[in-house]
Amino acid sequence: MAFSTIGSSGEAAIHGSVADALRGRRRSDTRGWAFEIGLLASLLICLLILGALILTVVTDGMPVYSDRGWEFLDGGLSSIADRAGISQGIVGSFWIAVCVVVVAIPIGVGSAIYLEEYAPRTKLTSFIELNIRNLAGVPSVVYGLLGLAIFVNTFHGFSGADGIERSTLAAAGVTLAVLVLPIVIITTAEAIRAVPQALREGAYGVGATRWEVIRSQVLPYAAPGIFTGSLLSIARAIGEAAPLIVIGAVTGFFSAGEGLNAQNVTDPSHLSERFVALPSIVTTWAKQPDEEFKVSNAAATIIAMLVFVLLINSIAIVLRNRFEKKRSS
């Protein structure tokens, strides 16, 4: 090494040797440079794909809106391409989201609280946790089979109906709620795990009971995380098609009240009727031979769906980033 002899040699000499030693090979590190470029590239490719996707959908779908605008959203299904609208799909998706909020989120948050705050470290507990992680990985189409066998065939779609009328919106909604339940549980559990132990100890230290600690410290602190997780799961549910198909979304014409007025959309009687939802409409139309359905209408429906889904997602993402920053500082 260059410096073994430093003690003896003169300062000036050293200065020189050190100077050019340190000047180093900064510019010669091509490997590292290429590596970094490659990595960045893979990210940019993802960006590209996203761009292509959105561009395709918009170029194919936008004409429908520029031609028909509100009419397309407000109109009902039709076998005439330039009459067809998606109001029934919006109604369906709306109620599916409601089911998620009403069924999945309370149960999910509840289980997460139990697992993080109450559960003793027993075999049962770790089994439940393993079980939840596995449920999160079960293919959505399998959940469809669950819905078909249990909610449709066994519970008659919660509507007491018979025959094909058992394939109700309620059955679909509950199925999707079940499908996103593991997601709610996992995200909530993470949010709760992120609550500093110091906060809990502080509260316990002045003699709070477990529930008081959860209510006054844990939940408030974890709220943003829980909220984010819930939003993401709603978005997921709105986008899922496979289970709907398996349960038996209507493929042809379907009348569900008329129009996109608040009164019709929020009419809970839809729950006990057969259904379509935005994703199932996309599927049916994408499989039509008629280009107007297959491309234009399908793309237009996708735009409507993406607006919902991406809106919800980005709210969630922004929220989370905002709080991550707050917390880290």
């Binding site: 596995n134 079960v138 399998v142 398996v246 991406l310």
Partner: protein, 288 residues
């Protein structure tokens, strides 16, 4: 209060039980009545001809999943490494959402995208225009791959961020350049997380339905083929087709029971993969 929450937690067990019950109580008819010669002997999946060549579906799933992984692994891993090791905080907050948005795209959308864009623009250009005119396993595979990129990216990024920065500092302190630190310290330390990401993604791809159903180039019935440029059915696509064609048929042929039979096979595969992945993930957690 605790009791209430406990009940909530237990519902997840009920759900799993329900899934198993649905699959087997309905699949039972198939398992008992099918002529197994038509399951292992035949070379085509066509439930209405009582041809149940599971091999056709397995190979279909294998090919699509394989293509998906070939697409997703390099992209997802590359993105993850960049975000966790190279991107400055500012850049990160700009780039990360790309993946998160991508993760939010519903699979139907990617299905349509694969059919009307990937098929002609990617498959068509790469493998000859005649292969780009319709759905193929290639187009579907690429679509599914895109769908799984965010999964691979986020899981392996988490794993790499779990590597304590003290190790990076130690490496830098010894005069290592970022590339050495990444390849020799961070990746080895995070390897089980990366593996887990890969397995999880595989399981996700295996279970992905809509993309293959819409862009897989076959419906209802498929001949055995191992050429990615053909159309064929995966397990999931076969289920979807059965559902669309037959969602209201009650037990006439073995068609509907076969739907649940495929369900059982698919469930078995994904369940196994998830279990393995879980092992790896937990190894990451224990590591530090």
């Amino acid at each position: 209060m605790g009791g209430l929450f406990f009940v909530a937690a237990v519902t997840s067990l009920v759900i799993s039980a329900a899934i198993l019950w649905s699959l087997f109580s309905n699949g039972w008819e198939f398992l008992t009545e099918v002529n197994w010669g038509h399951v292992f002997g035949s070379d085509s999946w066509s439930p209405r001809f009582d041809e149940f060549s599971i091999a056709t579906l397995l190979v279909g799933s294998l090919i699509v999943t394989g293509i998906a992984m070939l697409v997703a692994t390099p992209l997802g891993l590359g993105a993850a490494i960049y975000l966790s090791e190279y991107a400055r905080p500012g850049v990160r907050t700009v780039l990360k959402p790309i993946l998160e948005v991508l993760a939010g795209i519903p699979s139907v959308v990617l299905g349509v995208f694969a059919l009307i864009w990937i098929a002609p623009e990617v498959v068509g250009r790469l493998f000859g225009e005649e292969h780009g005119r319709g759905g193929t396993m290639m187009a579907a595979g690429i679509g599914v791959g895109i769908l799984t990129i965010p999964l691979i990216a986020s899981v392996s990024e988490d794993a790499m961020r779990a590597v304590p920065s003290s190790l990076r500092q130690a490496s830098a302190g010894l005069g290592a350049r970022p590339i050495s630190t990444t390849l020799r310290v961070v990746l080895p330390a995070a390897i089980s997380g990366v593996v887990a990401a890969f397995i999880l993604a595989t399981s996700r791809a295996l279970g992905e339905t809509m993309v293959v159903f819409i862009a897989g180039g076959a419906a209802d019935q498929a001949q055995y083929t191992n050429n990615p440029l053909d159309g064929s059915l995966t397990m999931t696509a076969a289920m979807a087709s059965l559902a669309v064609g037959t969602d209201q048929v009650r037990g006439a042929s073995l068609a509907v029971p076969s739907l649940f039979f495929v369900g059982i096979v698919l469930f078995a595969f994904t369940f196994g993969l998830n279990l393995i992945a879980d092992r790896f993930v937990r190894r990451v957690r224990q590591a530090y």
